[in-house]
């Protein structure tokens, strides 16, 4: 098992590295265009100024040399210098923002699972009734709305009108000293609530539908009939045995939804002014910060491939048949 995990992890890293290198080459193939934007942003004109900028950003070197230099920077943990954040390495910029994106994506994922599980459970219990139809309709409606719509629909009543939740940001007046760990944690969760709900709402329908189908199949299996015949309670059959078997493929599905979740987080971060990786990436693209874009590509590719690996391992943990295979 350990060797299997290690092999999967290595494969994930190699895949991510391949994606990142390819992205680096594509980015630097258009480096003169990036230089134009960099010069424009600085407001400098003339060939002399442009040449000086080209040198200061290292764009006077051939692309293969830039790539080997970048690989060396990655190996040293820095990922090079950020052009749009002078004085900061790419790694520092990314890891400054990564925890916030992980918090948002993680809580969005959790809500996605909880909401999906909840809707699927209601559907299972009320199969064929209006409650089943309503639950599915609401899930589909939420899924049909883009994240920014969901975000604005949450912000207006709960933050603007009722004031139950903050309008934006990560915490309340953090520049003011005071407040213990618990206060800080609760304040953080208070600020995280709406963005996480937005992300979860926009994506739980697929989870609900897949789980419902799988769950229904499991509830029709022969072992369920046997368990009922042996006098096992309905609740234990539904929640203890059939759910576990139904949840296995769901892990893979959740792994596949990770890229979408990360992409959705980019939008949610804009709506809620949540300073995560998504905002960094959007700003980096606008500023043509090639180093930061390449670093972000590598990091996101790693997160997604490792996330997929973890979901597959979870599937194996839930289903012994997969482990045996």
């Amino acid at each position: 098992m350990v060797s299997h995990v290690l092999r999967r992890a290595l494969r994930a890293v190699v895949t991510a590295a391949g994606i990142a290198i390819l992205a680096f080459l594509v980015l630097h193939a258009r480096s003169e265009e990036a230089l134009s934007v960099l010069a424009e942003n600085r407001g400098v004109r003339g060939e002399e100024a442009r040449a000086a900028l080209r040198t200061s950003y290292g764009l006077d070197r051939p692309v293969p040399l830039r790539l080997s230099s970048w690989i060396g920077d990655v190996a040293r943990g820095g990922m090079g210098d950020s052009w749009s954040h002078p004085g900061s390495s790419v790694a520092r910029v990314l890891f400054d923002h990564l925890p916030l994106t992980l918090a948002l994506t993680g809580s969005g994922l959790l809500l996605q699972i909880v909401l999906g599980l909840g809707v699927a459970a209601v559907s299972i219990q009320t199969r064929g009734t209006w409650k089943d139809a309503l639950a599915n309709a609401l899930a589909l409606a939420a899924n049909a709305l883009p994240e920014f719509c969901v975000g604005l629909l949450l912000l207006w009543p709960f933050a603007v009108r009722l004031g139950w939740f903050p309008l934006s940001g990560v915490s309340e007046a953090p520049w003011e000293a005071g407040g213990g760990t618990l206060t800080t944690l609760l304040d953080g969760l208070h600020h995280l609530a709406l963005p996480a709900v937005c992300l979860g709402l926009a994506s739980f329908a697929a989870v609900a539908r897949l789980l419902r189908v799988r769950w229904e199949d499991e509830l029709g299996a022969k072992y369920v009939v046997g368990a009922e015949a042996r006098g096992m309670s309905r609740a234990r059959i539904v929640w203890g045995h059939s759910l576990r078997n139904a949840a296995g493929p769901l892990c893979t599905s959740i792994g596949l939804s990770l890229p979408g979740l990360v992409g959705g987080a980019v939008v949610v971060e804009q709506v809620f002014n949540w300073p995560g990786l998504g905002r960094v990436l959007v700003d980096a693209i606008a500023a043509r910060d090639l180093n930061l874009i390449a670093g972000a590509n590598l990091l996101l590719a790693l997160l997604v491939t490792l996330g997929g690996m973890i979901s597959d391992l979870l599937f194996a943990a839930l289903d012994p048949r997969v482990r045996a295979r």
Binding site: S36, V37, E40, N41, R42, G43, V44, R45, G46, E48, A49, A52, L53, T55, S56, Y57, D81, W83, S84, H85, P86, G87, S88, V93, D96, H97, L155, V160, L167, S168, G169, V170, P174, W175, E176, E269, Q270, F272, N273, P275, R279, V280, D283
Partner: protein
């Protein structure tokens, strides 16, 4: 009023939003020839007329869209960089919107020498950098030398300066290439940086300097905390300039992804100050009792660029006819709320060398037909103009996508032109593509641009054949002769005469049709006082802000 005037240097026009704001001290007040002017210190009267005694303490929260990238003018890209630098660093002098003159900052006095090309500053003694080292003339000289590096954002605004020398520990002399009525504005543009920390840094290493994130300033505040993409916290210095401690304890710069989020926070009480509030929103906010809206006219303007290298716009008569078809007063009234915002040329009315004769053609739609007929055009049966070859005349106006003011202005201009029989369309595109088509390829009929509020008046840069901002691709021999003469002139009065003649020639040629001046709208919480001293560049006098005790 003064505006930075760059004598034709034939070099970089160097725009950059940061440099434009750094020169914002020239926007509203008269230039001083010499002397210290008024100190401009002390709290301004409270907006509600209550007690004007500044109270100590409190935290002001300023909203910015986008995160500052650096505190160094040389690498600055946006106005937000300048806002942050204003808190931590100082300038030689700054404009007072109360008196209209320059008030001392790092310089306690200055004198312009009789040759009209030299200005000498006496620096204030006892000003300390945050590390305890004293600020001297060497710091000013070093800063000016670095500001004139080709890749520096601010270099285009320093082109008029030939050299800067430190003639004593606290005496600095600026030598200009030519007589310049705005020498003081050019000299004081930008902040002063510490030579002892940055002097040995190679230009190639400027990008990676830790100084970008951990500045060591001489200003009223120091950077205490920087949470990426969230906020910067500045605390008042107790050891800065003798006798000048800010009233506030802290200024927090809160970072927002977009204007909508920032406006929500402003209305919710989470901000005390927000810049560039959209006009429609400002009108709505003005009715609130807890906010004050400051609308300040600037020298930034909106204009139409005609491609003088493409027929039929290459003909002066055609450009004049089209310009006469645009109701600029109506545009000024619609977009700025007053006809007085009408822009008449490249030299603002308050400039010492302003020529009262307007540089843009006045609105005479009835005369358009005669003008166009005179060049061989005729009206077709469906009321549309046909050129000399009988082809329907079509005009495409390019405009930046996402800038709603410019987009709406372009739509109105196109409508004005359609009313006189021209087939005019507006095409939106992203800024990079727009600039590539207009400035690099010259592939356009007309484009709608806006000029930053204090971009220098630069006839050569904008209308000379080698000018970096000659978007219209103008190349008029008479104008070139005048600009050449202006560039070589050493006598101030003769330079003025030549300049005025050149400006009139630009008006005759109509490469640009000047539409209206823009205003800056700032929304401020009523609890934040002391802003009136240097509108619209309020960050420069953050040391004068204060909050009443009962509102802290």
């Amino acid at each position: 009023m003064g505006n930075a005037l760059v004598l034709p240097g034939r070099g970089q026009g160097g725009r950059g939003l940061a440099a434009a704001v750094l020169a914002a001290s020239t926007a509203l007040a008269q230039a001083c020839g010499s002397g210290a002017g008024d100190a401009g210190r002390g709290g301004a009267g409270a907006a509600d007329g209550s007690s004007a005694t500044p109270a100590r303490g409190g935290t002001a929260k300023v909203g910015v869209i986008a995160e500052p990238k650096t505190f160094l003018d040389w690498a600055a890209e946006t106005t937000v960089d300048s806002y942050a630098a204003d808190l931590v660093f100082r300038r030689l002098a700054r404009r007072s919107s109360v008196s209209g003159s320059f008030v001392p900052d790092l310089a306690e006095s200055w004198q312009t020498l009789p040759d009209g090309r030299t200005i000498a500053f006496q620096l204030r003694r006892g000003v300390l950098w945050e590390d305890g080292i004293g600020l001297t003339a060497s710091d000013v000289r070093f800063t000016e030398d670095r500001a004139r590096m080709p890749e520096a954002s601010i270099s285009g605004y320093k082109e008029a300066i030939e050299s800067v020398e430190a003639t004593g520990s606290h005496q600095v002399v600026f030598h200009f290439r030519r007589p310049d009525p705005e020498m003081l504005a050019h000299a004081v543009l930008g902040h002063v940086y510490p030579e002892h920390l940055l002097g040995s840094v190679d230009a190639r290493d400027l990008q990676t300097l830790p100084f970008h994130r951990r500045p060591v300033g001489s200003g009223p505040f120091r950077l205490a905390e920087w949470e990426p993409a969230r906020y910067l916290s500045f605390v008042a210095r107790r050891d800065g300039t003798p006798g000048e401690r800010p009233h506030l304890d802290r200024v927090v710069m809160r970072i927002f992804a977009d204007k909508t989020s920032a406006l929500r926070e402003l209305e919710g009480g989470g901000l005390d100050l927000l810049f560039k509030v959209p006009r429609e929103t400002a009108d709505r906010l003005a009715s609130r009792g807890d906010l004050t809206i400051h609308r300040v006219p600037t020298h930034g303007y909106v204009f139409v660029v005609w491609n003088t290298k493409r027929a039929p716009w290459s003909r002066v008569e055609v450009r004049q006819a089209l310009a006469a078809s645009i109701d600029r007063k109506a545009l000024a009234s619609r977009f700025e709320g007053t006809e007085t915002a009408l822009a008449s040329g490249p030299v603002p009315a308050d400039h010492p060398w302003h020529d009262p004769a307007p540089s843009s053609t006045s609105y005479e739609p009835a005369a358009t037909a005669a003008r166009l007929t005179s060049v061989g055009w005729r009206i077709s049966g469906d009321g549309r103009w046909l050129d000399e070859q009988g082809a329907k005349v079509r005009l495409e106006i390019l405009v930046q996508h996402g800038n709603t003011v410019l987009q709406d202005t372009a739509a109105v201009v196109a409508d004005n032109l359609r009313r006189v029989g021209l087939e005019a369309e507006v095409r939106q595109m992203d800024l990079t593509t727009l600039r590539a088509r207009v400035e690099e390829k010259g592939d356009f009929d007309a484009a709608l641009y806006s000029r930053p509020s204090t971009a220098p008046v630069d006839l050569a840069g904008c209308f000379g054949s080698g000018g970096a901002e000659n978007y219209a691709k103008l190349a008029d021999p008479d104008l070139e002769t005048m600009l050449d003469a202006f560039g070589r002139e050493t006598d101030l009065e003769k330079a003025r005469e030549t300049f005025v003649r050149a400006a009139r020639r630009v008006g005759e040629l109509e490469p640009w049709t000047f539409l209206y001046y823009r205003s800056e709208t700032i929304a401020a919480s009523r609890r934040l006082r002391g802003l009136e001293g240097c509108l619209p560049n309020v960050m420069e006098c953050a040391s004068e802000w204060w909050i009443p005790k009962d509102r802290q």
